[in-house]
Amino acid sequence: MTAAAVAAATAEQAPGPVPAARKGFAAHWPHLLPPVLAAMVAAPWLGRGYLLGYDLVFTPSMPLSSSLLGMGTGLPRAVPSNLVLALLQQLLPGDLLQRVVLIGLLLGAGWGVLVWLRSAPNAVRAVAAIAYLWSPYLYERLAIGQWAVLIGWAALPWTVHLCGRLGDAARERAPAASVRLALLLSVPAVGGFAAQQICALGVLAVGLTTTGAARVRVLLVGLGACALWSLPWLVPTLTHPGGAVSDPAGVAAFTARADTRLGSLGSVLTLGGIWNGLAAPPGRDSWAGSLCALALLLLALAGARRLTAHLGRRLSLGLALMSALAVAVAVAGLVPGVRVLFADALPVVPGLASVRDGQRLIAVLALLECAALGFGAAALADRLHRLQLDRRLSFAIVALLPLVAVPSLAWGLAGTLTPVEVPSDYLAAARVVDASPGAGAVMVAPWGLYRPYDWNNGRPVVDIATLLMSRYTITDTDLPVAVGGSGVIRSVPGEDPWSARIGRIISGPGDHTRQLAAAGIGFVYLEQQPPAVGGGTVQGLAGATAVYRSPDVTVYRLPGPIAAAPAGVTSPDRLHLIEAADLLVLLVLGTLAAALLLPSGAPLSLRRPPVGAATQPATEDQLP
């Protein structure tokens, strides 16, 4: 591109308010794209029932319990996401809530990109929004059921947008902009550490590349809010009885892998590369799928210069740096020396396990690439225009390319993520457990966290029983990963010492009833498919009483005495600490929300009085 063309593009696409010429449909048509794309993904989700797969578990009933706060012997990986779900389930049925959450994430991500790039040409915004929403990243995280991670992905463009607003805000407007950013960052906090890491990269991308007071403001507010909203999972993690360290086997299991013919690095750079081969988009590993992915990457590179002109050199650099960091973390486990270092550090450094699946951090790369792709489409349009071809053709081609690259995202991941009914006896058994007298936790068996339920079409999902009871449930926390398609299962040990103890008991010989009771187990929730024939007690539970029996589930109550649960579950000091942290977060959240929502003149309100009501003439900064 010539210097004149760059200058023209810069002038045309300089940041600023929406051009006055855009009005009505002409101005806002890109906002229709996220609903259309979301409908293409979610069309089969219209009926009742639950979408279940891997970590994606919404259930008809999720009773409130202290384990939702993080009380337990395992690391609080689903805190506070499951707590928020349980609270919202008091208002909405679980399957409806699931649709609201998942479709809301798709819409939030698409609209976020459109708002962030609001001063770019509409065609550029449209291509960027399509590419961000319709990406291998979304497919993979949806396939593995990590909706909590997708909260970070959906909130990222909003984070970058509001950080930019805060950095640019005049002094008088800085408090309101700070509160808006802080409130926004409470959304990814629902998803826990994974979602927050993604948005923290967005904060750093803006904060580290601004200057002066703006830098201090963005970093202080952004990172401060991230830290404050982390308390609900951070306090349970810091008070975890076994420390927050993890097994070194997680490095080999969860590092990025090639899901295209472009290698592991190429797969990550084209916004895929998840560790789990079963979660990769079908067809992406073909030559055609790989070439599509490569074409999108090259088009994004072609648009990098224009994107830099639009966003400014500093923000572009910040996003590029954070993207490089995310890619480095994603592929760190593939570099021999680093892999050893990482594996050695995991059992020693608390919290390091939070980045062992580093590929999820590339959401920031997705944002950068998709915005660049929009401008790449503009560059291609210019070239085609010189060849007497319609500019709209190139935008249409580039806009379609993401859909062609991951066609299986349509129709609920090509029909693999469709609603199923949870058999009623799972719930009935859970109610019996909760209504039964007697002490002890519930052991969910057979021992293994993921179930290939027949009624879920054999698709593995976290055992739903773990969420159905208010009584503390314990199950296997080891993660079995099949290696190389050979059927060999490599187990990544979990971090729950109580679960490990139960696992050792039941893998031993003889009868387990007394040993389980001595380990604090009062009930066994035993799932069985195909249905059991006849009566009797499962081998290894002599003396246990069946208190519920159905074709799918049998519940046994173990004879006493039942030992007390470990301190991590029962410690009042730990519970009070967690409750205090949660209350503090709620208090601050409520105060900040009130500051934005209360009418002007009210205490705490950050709203400015109407211009006409001001006693002093309004300055230019005060005008809306």
Binding site: W287, L291, L387, P446, R459, P480, T537
Partner: protein, 73 residues
């Protein structure tokens, strides 16, 4: 020359999109029937219960195939 370049570029792009769609949708359709567990869900073990009678039950340890792998590398 310009016409030739345009024609060539159009053919390449259309071919890329066509191949991607064909392979992607084809593989998606094929995989939609195979994506699932790496372990069988049909297993059960025979045990003699203390409550009397011969019964088909899974074992507590899960060795009978009631558990699925978290994923595959």
């Amino acid at each position: 020359m310009r016409t030739l370049i345009t024609l060539g570029a159009t053919v390449v792009i259309a071919g890329l999109i066509g191949m991607g769609a064909a392979f992607g949708i084809g593989t998606a359709a094929k995989d939609s029937t195979t994506v699932g567990s790496t372990a069988s869900s049909s297993g059960s073990s025979t045990s003699t219960g203390s409550g009397g009678g011969q019964a088909l039950f899974p074992s507590l340890s899960g060795s009978s195939g009631f558990s699925a792998a978290y994923g595959s590398r």
